[in-house]
């Protein structure tokens, strides 16, 4: 076999069709060429493992869509031109008083851990805020929407809603808020719900609901709220609360002006499939619905 600079890496050049079969033959002889040629041919039979690109992209998206904690600043415009001392005072003020806000958008669910180890899962279109600085002294959370909590043991833990306050020491529970509506389910431990000054104690396995100025109680059997696993379930719940959830889950606008939205329902819907979800709520009620670009019109049959 002869070597010269022209024939550097001649096998690579042959694989790349820069050197012809004939040239390689004359370089290494026919017998050797045949072996190389067979190897080249047989290499075509190998394949790389399948790659499910879409599935991976989905996983990546679900991981990067977690809400970013953002600090809502209360800096008024004049502060920008204020003297350095004022800015400094303001900085100190912000340091102590600004709240951390976490929120989810339509159809999103999101889980995170607070500094003390408390685990929170937020359902679709929900917001909660708390003060990071004063957290070690008072664990107060403001909630709009629905969230499931696994509270680490420690100081009193308060969930403040527009309807009332939920007080716990260390437990697992779910809070759902709405217009004139509050539902609290206790999955572990003991919690106290206060509405209009009236206190109710819930123990493990109990659900308390306050809807349209009416209280109700029932027992739960699950270890966690079902929405975490993709099913929204309701008991004795006003229809408008369920409709609101459908809107938040699927980013739709439900027009139900022609029906009574205050009726109480036992129902559930799959929060992955809009069509199925709408059917499972409205078909048993004997209502018709039509979907027109993100708008759902519900009417009586």
């Amino acid at each position: 076999m002869k070597y010269n600079s022209m024939n550097d890496n001649f096998l690579a050049k042959w694989l790349n069709a820069e050197i012809s079969d004939e040239a390689l033959k004359s370089l290494i002889g026919e017998t050797e060429f045949d072996i190389y040629n067979k190897i080249k041919f047989d290499l075509e039979k190998f394949e790389s493992p399948k790659f499910d690109s879409e599935a991976m992209l989905k996983r990546i998206k679900s991981k990067i869509s977690k809400p970013k904690a953002k600090v809502i600043s209360f800096i008024p415009n004049w502060a920008y031109s204020a003297a350095a001392t004022v800015a400094l005072l303001l900085a100190a003020y912000l340091f102590v008083f600004s709240d951390t806000t976490l929120s989810t958008n339509y159809g999103e669910q999101s889980a995170f851990n607070l500094e003390d180890g408390t685990y929170i899962k937020l359902n679709a279109k929900s917001t909660l805020s708390y003060n990071k600085r004063s957290w070690s002294e008072s664990r107060n959370i403001n909630l709009i929407g629905e969230a499931y909590f696994e509270v680490a043991h420690g100081n009193t833990f308060l969930v403040k809603t527009s309807m009332g306050v939920v007080k716990v020491l260390g437990t697992h529970f779910n809070v759902k808020t709405g217009k004139n509506y509050l539902k609290v389910a206790c999955f572990e431990g003991k919690i106290e719900v206060t509405i209009n000054g009236k206190r109710t104690i819930l123990t493990q396995g109990q659900t308390y609901q306050f809807a349209k100025n009416t209280e109700s109680n029932w027992a739960i059997e699950l270890a966690k709220p079902s929405w975490i696993n993709g099913l929204n379930t309701y008991k004795n719940t006003p229809l408008f609360i369920i409709i609101n959830d459908l809107e938040n889950q699927f980013k739709i606008d439900v027009d139900a002006t022609n029906i009574d939205k205050n009726i109480l329902l036992n129902a559930s819907f799959d929060n992955h499939n809009i069509d199925l979800a709408l059917k499972s709520i409205f078909v048993p009620l004997n209502f018709n619905f039509i979907i027109k670009n993100k708008k759902v019109i519900v009417s009586k049959k």
Partner: protein, 167 residues
């Protein structure tokens, strides 16, 4: 800042362009398919987190560097095992059972030899032969010269030929 990596559409096009190459590169280099996919996922998440700091032109080398480092840091290497298509069996086939057996033996040997290719040569050789990447593309992917890729291709084929022995 028209084509910012932080833009979801730009980010997604980067994913579509590079995810598969990155997965195959990691697999050919380190052998562990599951880890390769985990690391592709982690690398893209990291790219998203750093999207403001990575210019579009550097996104690919960012991904490859991050992924390679992750693999070197945490993973044990395994053998690459590529599947090959079985010899087609049809009625007009007059091959004797012995031939079929010998052929199977030979293909298994070829498979083992590919796994045993020296590090550096293996991923280059397989990216070219299996993934049909050109030498230039591989050079860009790995930040090497075309000459260096040629050298590895040459040595890899020579290595395979020696291991295969006489057919």
């Amino acid at each position: 800042m028209l084509d910012n990596v932080c833009k979801p559409a730009v980010y997604e096009s980067l994913y579509n362009k590079h995810a598969k190459d990155l997965r195959n590169y990691l697999y050919y280099k380190f052998g562990n398919l599951e880890s390769a996919e985990d690391i592709v996922q982690e690398s893209f998440i990291k790219l998203w987190q750093k999207c403001a700091d990575v210019v579009l032109e550097k996104a690919k080398s960012f991904l490859f560097t991050v992924a390679t480092n992750m693999f070197l840091n945490e993973k044990n290497h395994e053998k690459v095992v590529l599947r090959y298509q079985q010899i087609p069996q049809n009625d007009t086939n007059v091959e004797t059972p012995e031939f079929v057996m010998l052929e199977k033996e030979y293909m298994d040997k070829l498979q083992t030899t590919l796994s045993d290719l020296p590090d550096g040569q293996r991923e280059v050789f397989l990216l070219n032969r299996i993934e049909k990447k050109t030498y230039k593309e591989i050079a860009d992917l790995l930040g090497l010269s075309v000459k260096a890729i040629e050298k590895r291709m040459h040595l890899a084929l020579k290595y395979i030929r020696e291991k295969i022995g006489n057919i």
